[in-house]
């Protein structure tokens, strides 16, 4: 089975662009990806597009064809929705389509416009990724759900808010050189601990910001890349997806994310690697505790040990296996439906040496991207490897 190549990627600057329409955000990222790939637009055969809250934020459904049109394509275009893992799920569809011979060139991407509706409405919109009847109606917010998971983690495995603060400090530091990042500001552990509480034990600096932005990538078959002499050294060699009960109340553990365990196992098996082979990871740190749960589910750390990885310097850019060199969702920003493809772009750029933090893993050949939806009721994991 041939491994799809990442021929090119593009991301907008992430941040507050309330006046920019979703279609314009996606057009910028999509055209940048097509230019970077150097493929003839006529060769593109389909678009898989991630978006979560388009109906609420822009009163816009049916975004697939709209976004294809925005990047000048007349191709079958499908919107994929899996909450914050929408773009990861879109990547998976693209990979399957390329592998089964259905297409040779596919554009995958995502966009989200969020800041135009304000913080309160965005909080409301994000909450609908939870179970409406049993969670949202009991006052559950997105930060509130992760706060429940954090408290349960501390109770089960130990750790403290200070450990989480080290994750925020790390990801802010990583983002300092990322020109696409929403927040490029160094913070201290004290800053994080003193920040206002959102949902205890989580505070403002445990949370990703609300972000407008888009990301896109052009994926081709290995054969197409070779025939057209594309500069596409990084391949997607493994894909996995897992699910879980939507509501936290229906899960046996609040401090574990089995959907991500399943996605990681499948992606590693697909790629023929194990967690020890991973050189670098981009994980879904919508909240600091989410990074802990992610690196444990990816098998990079044992249960209960992920909490201290940032504090001990293991996941910083100076550590043995850096996590979130982009700044993560925490500092890079989290335009929900775009995040999975922004992660894929980051890993491709880190592995091909063009990312400003690529010097953290000069010999790195294997990267993983972990994209989680809601309270990790959906997770995709993709393995990417340098092929030549």
């Amino acid at each position: 089975m041939s491994d799809p190549r990442i021929a090119g990627a593009g991301v907008t600057n992430f941040g507050k662009h309330p006046e920019r329409t979703g279609r314009d955000l996606f057009a910028e990222a999509g055209l940048e990806a097509l230019d970077a790939a150097g493929v003839d637009p006529e060769d593109v055969e389909s678009l898989y597009y991630g978006n979560f809250m388009g109906e609420l934020a822009e009163h816009q459904g049916h975004q697939g064809p709209l976004m294809a049109e925005a990047i000048g394509l007349d191709v079958p275009a499908t919107r994929v929705e899996a909450a914050c893992a929408s773009a990861g799920a879109a990547i998976r569809e693209a990979v399957k389509t390329l592998r089964n011979g259905e297409s040779e060139v596919v554009v995958v991407g995502g966009a989200e416009r969020m800041t135009n509706i304000g913080t309160a409405a965005a909080t409301d919109a994000l909450a609908i990724a939870a179970d409406d009847l049993y969670e949202v109606r009991a006052g559950m917010t997105f930060p509130g759900a992760y706060a429940l998971m954090a408290r349960s983690y501390f109770d089960q495995y130990g750790g403290s808010h200070e450990d989480l603060a080290h994750i925020a400090v790390k990801n802010h530091e990583h983002a300092l050189v990322n020109e696409h990042a929403q927040i490029r500001k160094e913070i201290t552990v004290e800053d994080a601990l003193e920040a206002p509480t959102i949902a205890d034990p989580l505070g403002l600096y445990d949370s990703c910001p609300i972000t407008d932005g888009a990301a896109a990538a052009v994926l081709t078959t290995e054969e197409y890349a070779a025939e057209h002499d594309l500069d596409a050294p990084v391949a997607v060699t493994g894909t996995g997806q897992g699910g879980d009960n939507l509501a936290l109340q229906d899960r046996p553990h609040l401090a574990q994310t089995p959907a991500a365990d399943k996605a990681a196992e499948e992606a590693y098996a697909d790629a023929g690697i194990g967690p020890d082979d991973v050189d670098v990871a981009e994980v879904h740190d919508c909240f600091t505790i989410a990074e802990v749960l992610a690196i444990e589910s990816l098998g990079l750390y044992e249960r209960g040990e992920g909490i201290s990885a940032a504090r001990d310097g293991k996941t910083t850019r100076h550590g043995d296996r850096p996590v979130n060199l982009s700044g993560g969702l925490k500092a890079k920003g989290h335009p929900v439906g775009a995040t999975g493809v922004a992660q894929l772009a980051t890993i491709a750029w880190v592995l091909d040496g063009s990312h400003p933090r690529a010097d953290a893993v000069p010999d790195g050949t294997v990267g993983v991207a972990h994209n989680a939806g809601g309270t990790v009721a959906s997770t995709t994991v993709h393995v990417m490897e340098v092929k030549e």
């Binding site: 009847l133 049993y134 109606r137 917010t141």
Partner: protein, 128 residues
Amino acid sequence: MTDQAPDGEYDAWLDSIEAGEGYYLECGNGHGWLPPRRVCPQCHDRDLSREGLPDSGEIASHTTITVPTPQFEDDAPYVTAVADFGPVSVTGVVRGADPADVALGDVVGLEVGERATTGDRLVVFRPR
């Protein structure tokens, strides 16, 4: 209060709690769920029976939410918790306790209250 159609078995479940006859659904293998369910997501069993909810549960996790959605604006700050009732866990808002005093393992009873912001019905935990 929003004037809209009830949400089937969910609203019927709230009615049952208000009537002091709260229940859960149990499959043949003892897995517990809250309605509506037609099949056990864990073992595929479709033979679900109504069983009485235990009288009290224990707080499994809790958080004091200070940044709410607009639908809970006048309720904040409030404590949302997951309480373990044995065969099922339930999510609700803790009332009748200082948020700072809520702790893991606290024993709570289950009742139906009202959301301050909108008047909608709300699952409420009250310390026992």
